[in-house]
């Protein structure tokens, strides 16, 4: 796996990074194998995500994945996000994630699913 330019860009300039004032939902998700921790904040409009922000420390993959996801999920509802699946997350990152890094790649995604599921 190469660190594609897009991943490095999101890693160095993470989008939607920071705390959200007055979030409708928030949750902290951790990766026990490496200690990465992410906090996700959501603003919900009806069924759909209006805005996602996030905070945390992590590797290039988990950071880029959270950053890209925060752009991708705007306007999506829970079913659409579930529909993305691991394949969708991998594709978003450029299609090639080695199995040893899947936990990094899916940290934000798993957190997001958990967060939306607690809202049911």
């Amino acid at each position: 796996m190469d660190y594609r330019e897009e991943i490095i860009d999101h890693y160095k300039n993470p989008r939607n990074f920071g705390e959200m004032e007055g979030a409708d939902l928030s949750l902290t998700e951790a990766n026990a194998s490496c200690g990465d921790v992410i906090k996700i904040f959501l603003k919900i409009e009806g069924e759909k995500i209006e805005k996602m922000m996030w905070q945390g420390v992590g590797c290039a993959i988990s950071t880029a994945a959270a950053s890209m996801l925060s752009e991708k999920v705007v306007g999506m509802d829970r079913d659409e996000i579930v529909g993305l699946g691991l394949g969708g997350v991998t594709a978003m990152l450029g299609g090639e994630i080695n199995a040893g890094r899947m936990k990094c790649a899916t940290l934000a995604y798993n957190g997001l699913i958990k967060l939306l599921s607690t809202n049911e």
């Binding site: 796996m1 890693y11 194998s33 200690g35 993959i61 890094r101």
Partner: protein
């Protein structure tokens, strides 16, 4: 080359088939023996031969193959015993070091630890020698005492403040060795060498002191990171139990050993029940077999035991003093090279600065780069290093980082591989700039 050991490195490397492997066109530079070692041809052959020519269950039949299998297991047990200065009946085969520690917790701990007692461990422990004691203390109300580490990752022996806290029904006392030791301590469970920092606590002096201050204390050593690298004489250590895994010492995975003093083991109840561990069985109950069978319920990993015996043969032939000497030269060399990178501001090193006090683990971070990212870049050059929390989260995070990169060395590694590692560490930050 100064006093290069009796180790013929080219000959050794030729014994390990996997070292011929290419990783994306690069030679494999395997620097994760702390997680598991590679296996020499003789170990692979011993297991393969066993399945091809001798396979039958042990202690079960009067026919030739079963008798032969039983003999082979007994022989391997004898080799392991001799390797660590023990009696064969003191060698309990387990799955791994973790199972050995759990065996002590279930069989001995649940009988002997109560709410008024304390269990002493160190902050260096692998989760496998920490979590069982957390659970036992939580269940019994005993206090878990943890010897803290200093900035170099060495155990703090005297002085300092104690920190006492209670969380999730667990009473914890954190402080220096001497402050924590008194008559309440009924068990001292400690690692012989840290899997993260390579720190090797002065076991002899600690065990001597604790036995004076708390007579009757039992001592369990997690020897998983010790036994692959140095001569062990369990009698001289003064411990009651010594647990280790086969797969870190050139043997196969799935087989480990708990050594226990005969006097201690013979008073312990089994914690797993089933075939081969019983004396007489009636519909209403059973008596227990003698040592070591009492602690080996069910069909064991026979091929694994035979493979471990072959690994012991391999190491014995090299001589453990030669192994230690060679690895000391490697770690010394690695530390020297890494210190240059540290001076340049490229990396941060963790662990004792003095190579006399450490085993072959070199933990570091490339400054500004997450451990997983650094390891991934190194992998792209064929270098296998571990990254993460190394099953020792409380230790790793006490250095103010969430993860570390770890390179660990064994007898098949070379100084040229260390040079290659260092040159590729220089490439890591470039990827992220």
């Amino acid at each position: 080359m100064k006093n290069i050991s009796m180790i013929d490195i080219e000959k050794i490397r030729a014994d390990f088939p996997i070292l011929q492997k290419k990783i994306r066109g690069h030679d494999l530079i395997y620097l994760d023996s702390g997680a598991t070692s590679q296996k020499p041809e003789s170990v692979l052959r011993a297991m393969d031969n066993y399945y091809r020519t001798t396979n039958a269950n042990i202690h079960r039949g009067v026919y030739e193959l079963s008798v032969k299998s039983t003999q082979m297991v007994d022989e391997a047990r004898g080799k392991v015993a001799e390797f660590i200065g023990a009696k064969p009946e003191e060698i309990i085969f387990t799955r791994n070091a973790s199972e050995g520690m759990n065996l002590v917790m279930y069989s001995w701990g649940k009988e002997h630890i109560s709410g008024a007692d304390a269990v002493l461990v160190s902050k260096l422990e692998h989760h496998s020698n920490l979590v069982p004691w957390q659970e036992l203390c939580r269940e019994t109300g005993a206090e878990l005492r943890i010897i803290d580490v200093d900035g170099e990752g060495k155990l703090i022996m005297t002085g300092g403040d104690e920190k006492v806290f209670e969380e999730n029904n667990l009473k914890v006392r954190l402080g220096s060795f001497e402050k924590l030791v008194n008559q309440k301590v009924k068990l001292f469970a400690v690692t012989g060498a840290s899997n993260v920092l390579g720190t090797m606590p002065d076991l002899k002096s600690m065990i001597g002191k604790i036995k004076k201050l708390s007579p009757g204390v039992a001592v369990l050593i997690d020897g998983a990171q010790m036994i692959p690298h140095m001569r062990i004489d369990v009698r001289k250590l003064g411990a009651d139990w010594f647990a280790f895994s086969g797969h870190k010492m050139l043997g196969p995975s799935g087989i480990g050993v708990l050594w226990g003093k005969k006097e201690v083991l013979s008073k312990m109840k089994p914690f797993m029940f089933g075939g081969d561990m019983i004396g007489e069985v009636k519909l209403t109950g059973a008596t227990w077999a003698d040592l070591p069978s009492r602690f080996e319920a069910g069909t064991p990993d026979i091929a694994g035991i035979i493979g471990l015996g072959a690994a012991v043969d391999y190491l014995s032939e090299l001589g453990m003093d030669n192994v230690r000497q060679y690895e000391k030269e490697l770690i010394q060399y690695g530390l020297e090279k890494m210190k240059i990178l540290e001076k340049e501001g490229l990396v941060t090193l963790y662990g004792p600065k003095d190579d006399e006090e450490r085993g072959g683990a070199l933990s570091f971070n490339v400054n500004g780069v997450h451990a997983h990212d650094a390891a991934q870049v190194l992998d792209s050059f064929g270098i296998a290093v571990r990254s993460g929390q190394h099953c020792a989260a409380p230790l790793v995070t006490s250095f103010g980082v969430i993860a570390m990169v770890r390179a660990t060395f064994y007898i098949y590694n070379t100084k040229a591989e260390i040079d290659y590692l260092v040159s590729k560490i220089r490439e890591v930050p470039k990827v992220f700039i």
